[in-house]
């Protein structure tokens, strides 16, 4: 058994919250630069130019890319041979969020659903824990903004709807989302599982680096097809008109019940933030 003290976890989470919000990944930066070269609409190119400059300012000044520093979402892979000492894992993560959002000048955006009273420290975090083999602890922070989350959906298709039904639903969702989720976006799609599982794998799909090909050739083909159809709508960056509404479509698939075809579409804005650490 390897021991990990909760203090170490809190410290790591604190830093992850800040870094994820200040430093946009190289994969997204590369997609911005490609967008600047290939976007046909002048207004659209202006958007990519602004987003590149914005990300550079954020990184250099250690300030958030976006004022909406998101719901603090974590994916944790806990090795079975790890023993966490001096406290609870979830408490340690929440404490890290509390410290990171306060010391890092991040916005606190979490409130009671009825009274709308802010919790004041951006807790509680949403924490997904998976047990894995080994004696390491991997923590991925993936803060998610409200604007693009509001445009995301989960639905239960009929098995008869098939692949075509899935494609149509995702394309339609993008059209309806339009300019709201700060395009250029990345679209995470979860197919299968259960009502609660599909959105989880849709969110996980967003963690795959932008610009990589899905290892499953059939899914890769579906991704390409959906991407083309969405970009052919002409909605473009920020909805100003153009060729690039989505920079990528990422699909994850899971077996489902013989009676159902769950489908989740997680629209993620260009502020696609995630950082990980292995302890």
């Amino acid at each position: 058994m390897r021991e990990i003290n909760v203090k170490e976890i809190t410290e790591a989470v604190k830093n992850l919250c800040m870094d994820a919000n200040y430093e946009l990944g190289d994969d997204v930066m590369t997609a911005f630069r490609r967008g600047l070269e290939t976007e046909e609409s002048p207004a659209g190119r202006g958007v990519f130019e602004a987003l590149i400059e914005n990300a550079e300012i954020a990184r250099n000044e250690r300030i958030p890319i976006c004022q909406d520093t998101g719901f603090a979402v974590f994916f944790v892979e806990l090795g079975q041979d790890v023993h966490i000492v001096d406290g609870l894992l979830t408490d340690a993560i929440n404490e890290g969020v509390r410290q990171g959002y306060s010391e890092g000048y991040l916005r606190k955006s979490i409130c009671d659903p009825f009274t709308r009273k802010n919790t004041g420290d951006n807790t509680p975090a949403v924490i997904n824990i998976n047990l894995v083999s080994g004696d390491r602890l991997k923590i991925i922070a993936a803060p998610k903004g409200g604007g693009s989350t509001n445009m995301s959906r989960v639905t239960m298709l009929k098995p008869a709807d098939g692949i075509e039904g899935i494609k149509n639903y995702v394309v339609q969702r993008a059209i309806e989302a339009g300019s709201n989720p700060c395009p250029p976006v990345i679209i995470g799609v979860g197919i299968g599982g259960t009502l609660e599982w599909a959105p989880l794998i849709a969110k996980k799909a967003l963690l795959r680096p932008l610009g990589t090909t899905n290892p499953d050739p059939q899914l890769a083909e579906i991704e390409g097809d959906i991407l083309k159809r969405i970009n052919d709508t002409g909605i473009g960056p920020q909805g100003f008109g153009g060729r690039i509404y989505a920079m990528g479509v990422h699909i994850e698939k899971f077996p489902c019940h013989i009676a159902s075809l769950p489908l989740a579409v997680n629209i993620c804005c260009h502020a696609s933030r995630h950082k990980e650490i292995i302890l």
Binding site: L51, P64, G147
Partner: protein, 185 residues
Amino acid sequence: MSDIIRLTTPLSDSDVGELKAGDQVLINGIVYTARDAAHKRLIDLLDQGKELPFDISGQIIYYVGPAPARPGKVIGPAGPTTSYRMDPYAPGLMERGLKGMIGKGSRSGEVIGAMKRYRCVYFAAIGGAAALIARSIKKVDIIAYEDLGTEAIRRLEVEDFKAVVVNDIHGNDLYKDGKERYCRE
């Protein structure tokens, strides 16, 4: 797209009348911030027949909830929030003289109708370009609802704040026109 137009608040009816969807503008002067919770309070005041906490005539409201400022900065990152959530409140404010709104995302038919009726324009700022946008904000004062934190009403002094006209008072809509221009279906 046309040349860049400089605007200084407060806006007059003729300033507003000249703007066309797709115009790029640089806004200078005072802009007020308000988002969900502040809008609710403003409309509650109007419903009770009370005065608003600031003179809204000719003014622009920016839908934003900034991040906290680092020491030495006037404001933290401050990009637009999605506007449709303010749709239920916007016509009531236009009736009181509001001349501009800055946000992101499309508005309801009702809001667009009210914009024509009361002569008010809707601008978009680049959603998510919050660190960049903050650079055009030079001074910040909280003028109402401090208890709302990021949602408090702030009086911003802005210099060359970049925005694009989405809906003008003549019924044009950049989101529709732009999409049609580049559509390949």
